[in-house]
């Protein structure tokens, strides 16, 4: 019974999401598309940051690679259609992630974080100075496409695929191994887990998702510059969305992206000039009071039987993580 209700609910939600473009203005649709693209990036970050526990601070690098590869293939002498170009971007990102991951995934903690930051910065410099290919700081212009539904449905499709991938990942040996690495790398090695291989796979997966988001954003924005597509804002957004929702959970990144987008849209429409400050304060409150994300509050029900969400759970969480 419960299961049937859950499936019915899920199908209803899916139907609503599919029908959405007919129901809302194209501005709202753009907002939803932004949310989906953020969710996609967060889903990617969740593999390396959430499940494997590596604080990757440079995933915007793969966002940028995806954007540039997609864009460059679509223009110039090739005129590759969008989807093959996007796939090429994702593939190239995965390749770069594997090659870079092998050395930098040996680093731990903040050293890894700094190395990934460096990677993003270096790639941004490459895009900025490789004039003959990337047109440097001027950037490249993609063919114009203004149909909002196209971007919405594409992003929705990717996010659904992302959810299925994450669900499969979390049940697989690969996912289990990555979590073991997050919890204790030495223990993981002694349990027979090829830590290097697993970390690189998780990192490459995160790069693929970031690249898909980057290529999609590039086509939507039509103009790709190093300044816009290699900025740390994207990395921070995907991390914040994942953490708000619940790192290392299947639904967390999507939920977090929804909350983040909702909050920022709301705050922004209410406070014209102070909104970055207010949004910042809200994010800090989220992280102080729910350091392990919304999914852990909702997820308790699953772990401990039939307990529904209660305010006391939330308060207990607050107390347990109070800064003393």
């Amino acid at each position: 019974m419960k299961k049937a209700a859950a499936i019915a609910g899920f199908l209803a939600l899916l139907a609503l999401l599919v029908a959405l473009p007919r129901l809302v203005s194209s501005y709202k649709l753009l907002t939803y598309t932004r949310f989906l693209i953020l969710a996609l990036m967060a889903q990617g970050w969740n593999f390396i940051g959430g499940y494997t526990g590596y604080a990757a601070f440079g995933n915007v690098a793969y966002f940028g690679i995806g954007a540039y590869t997609t864009g460059l293939l679509m223009i110039g002498k090739w005129h590759v259609p969008f989807f093959p170009a996007l796939a090429a971007g994702a593939l190239l990102s995965a390749l770069v992630a594997i090659l870079l991951g092998l050395p930098i995934l040996r680093l731990k903690g903040h050293y890894f974080a700094i190395a990934t930051l460096g990677v993003a910065e270096a790639l941004s410099q490459v895009a900025d100075t490789w004039d003959s290919v990337t047109e440097g700081s001027t950037g490249i212009d993609l063919p114009l496409k203004t149909e909002g539904e196209f971007f919405y449905y594409t992003a929705l499709g990717f996010v659904i695929v992302g959810l299925l991938c994450t669900a499969a990942f979390s049940r697989s040996k690969l996912g289990n191994g990555c979590v073991a690495i997050r919890e204790d790398q030495d223990a993981a090695r002694m349990l027979g887990i090829n830590t290097t291989l697993f970390k690189v796979i998780a990192y490459a997966l995160s790069a693929v998702f970031a690249a898909l988001a980057g290529g999609l954003t590039a086509y939507q924005n039509i103009h790709v510059t190093p300044g816009d597509f290699f900025k740390i804002d994207y990395t921070l957004q995907m991390i914040i969305a994942t953490i708000i929702g619940g790192a290392g959970t299947v639904l967390g990144p999507v939920l977090g992206a929804a909350v983040f987008q909702l909050l920022s849209t709301y705050v922004w429409s209410k406070f014209l000039e102070l909104h970055p400050t207010i949004l910042g304060v809200i994010i800090v409150l989220f992280i102080v009071f729910l350091p392990r994300g919304l999914m852990t509050v909702l997820g308790r029900k699953r772990q401990r039987g039939e307990r529904p969400f209660r305010m006391s759970d939330l308060l207990a969480n607050v107390r347990a993580h109070r800064v003393t």
Binding site: S25, Y27, G136, D141, L144, G227, D228, L274, P276
Partner: protein, 406 residues
């Protein structure tokens, strides 16, 4: 005290969030400008310029459309200095706020993302702060810019020097690796070649550079007659200082950005003498236009009366006001609020204003207004020296060599 904070915040939210109460006969413009982020200051100039023009026109009773008087109002959003937000906000303005006329954002990149949205909905946009060619090379029909394009920034300077000295032959161009400056630099180099000058050096340096001595040493070896710089204030300061240290002494030295701001003189003291700077507009220009203020002086006086905190009036303020003037004139001419008709009226517009001539070429860019050139002179003041017809004073030329000065 503690109580007042939330109350003040709430009040603030209400003031800012509330939709301007609109009477039936009000024309609502929409604008997404950067009020936070890295170009917040310029965004504020833009907003002040828009508001000042709107208030002035409203104080005169509004504008006349088909025999009916309309007041003007602007709905603002903050794009956070992020060009990807601009597209979203323009969508919101058009879809949710039902705005039919768009005033442009601050900067080339946001203008570039706003343009296709306006195109999609066939809503005209006049922008005042994005002069990159890339926006206007795509064949958009609904996007117009009142300011001179980046390519023309240093054109006036070359014209000025050539009118003073028929013997100049060589030019060196230095540019910051950043979209706007790149266009300024390549535009200047192209124009120099077109005029028969030899471009002996043309190089880009990275944004935020701390040292250009290697480039200047190279330039010194070529001994050019003119040295042109396209970058930002800090770069201009650096180039002048290091040029003095290295003894790079061309006959004329000029920058696209820098000399027009007061910090340039404060920083360089007498070393700033003889340096030329390009600017879209100065209050010393002798235009005489058909608008509420007529002359740059008139505009400046009226603006300062309303905003006493402003010292120098940034050209961004003036060009933003000019965009509103251009829009209102086009609406009046169209005699209709229909976006397509207004668009055609804008395309056909040819008016003289306090800001200079406003007329758009087939791409929608105002190539008819010249860039003004200012020069810092040894009396410690800054004079508008070009175009000659509207200049305050004659330019001092050539620039004496660094070691020949008192």
């Amino acid at each position: 005290m503690k109580r007042t904070a939330p109350v003040a915040l709430l009040a603030f939210a209400l003031v800012l969030g509330a939709f301007p109460a609109l009477a039936e006969d009000t024309i609502l413009f929409g604008a997404a400008v950067s009020l936070t982020g890295k170009t917040a200051k310029e965004g504020e100039y833009t907003r002040d310029g828009y508001n000042f023009a709107v208030d002035t026109l409203n104080a005169q009773g509004g504008i006349n459309v088909g025999g009916k008087k309309y007041k003007l109002a602007v709905k603002y959003y903050d794009d956070e200095s992020k060009s990807e937000s601009t597209a979203q906000l323009i969508e919101k303005l058009i879809n949710e706020d039902k705005v039919t006329f768009i005033l442009g954002p601050y900067g080339s990149a946001p203008s570039g993302t706003a343009a296709p949205i306006c195109e999609k909905y066939k809503i005209p946009m006049i922008e005042a702060n994005g002069s990159a060619e890339s926006i206007f090379s795509k064949g958009y029909k609904y996007t117009f810019a009142v300011l001179s394009p980046a390519k023309l920034y240093l054109k006036g300077l070359i014209d000025l020097v050539m009118s003073k000295d028929k013997s100049v032959k060589t030019v060196a161009v230095l540019g910051e690796n950043e979209p706007f400056s790149k266009e300024v630099a390549s535009g200047a180099a192209d124009y120099a070649r077109e005029k028969g000058l030899q471009v002996v050096y043309q190089e880009l340096y990275p944004t935020g550079t701390q040292d250009v001595s290697a480039l200047l040493t190279n330039i010194k070896g070529k001994n050019p007659d003119i040295v042109l710089g396209a970058g930002h204030l800090q770069d201009s300061l650096l180039i002048v200082k290091q040029a003095k240290d290295l003894g790079v002494s061309p006959k004329a030295m000029g920058f696209s950005v820098g000399p027009s701001s007061p910090e340039f003189r404060e920083n360089l003291k007498s070393n700033a003498d003889y340096i030329f700077g390009a600017t879209q507009w100065t209050e010393a220009l002798k235009y005489n236009g058909d608008d509420p203020w007529k002359t740059p002086k008139g505009y400046a006086t009226a603006f300062r009366a309303k905003h006493p905190k402003y010292g120098d009036i940034a050209y961004q303020v003036a060009e933003s006001s000019a965009a509103v003037i251009a829009f209102s004139r086009a609406i009046e001419k169209a005699g209709s609020l229909d976006p397509a008709k207004v668009r055609d009226a804008i395309a056909a517009l040819d008016i003289m204003t306090f800001y200079g001539q406003i007329k758009f070429d087939s791409r929608g860019i105002n190539t008819f207004k010249p860039m003004a050139i200012e020069q810092l002179q040894p009396d410690g003041r800054k004079y508008t020296v070009f175009p000659s017809s509207v200049a305050e004073k004659d330019a001092l030329y050539p620039m004496p060599a660094w070691d020949k000065r008192k």
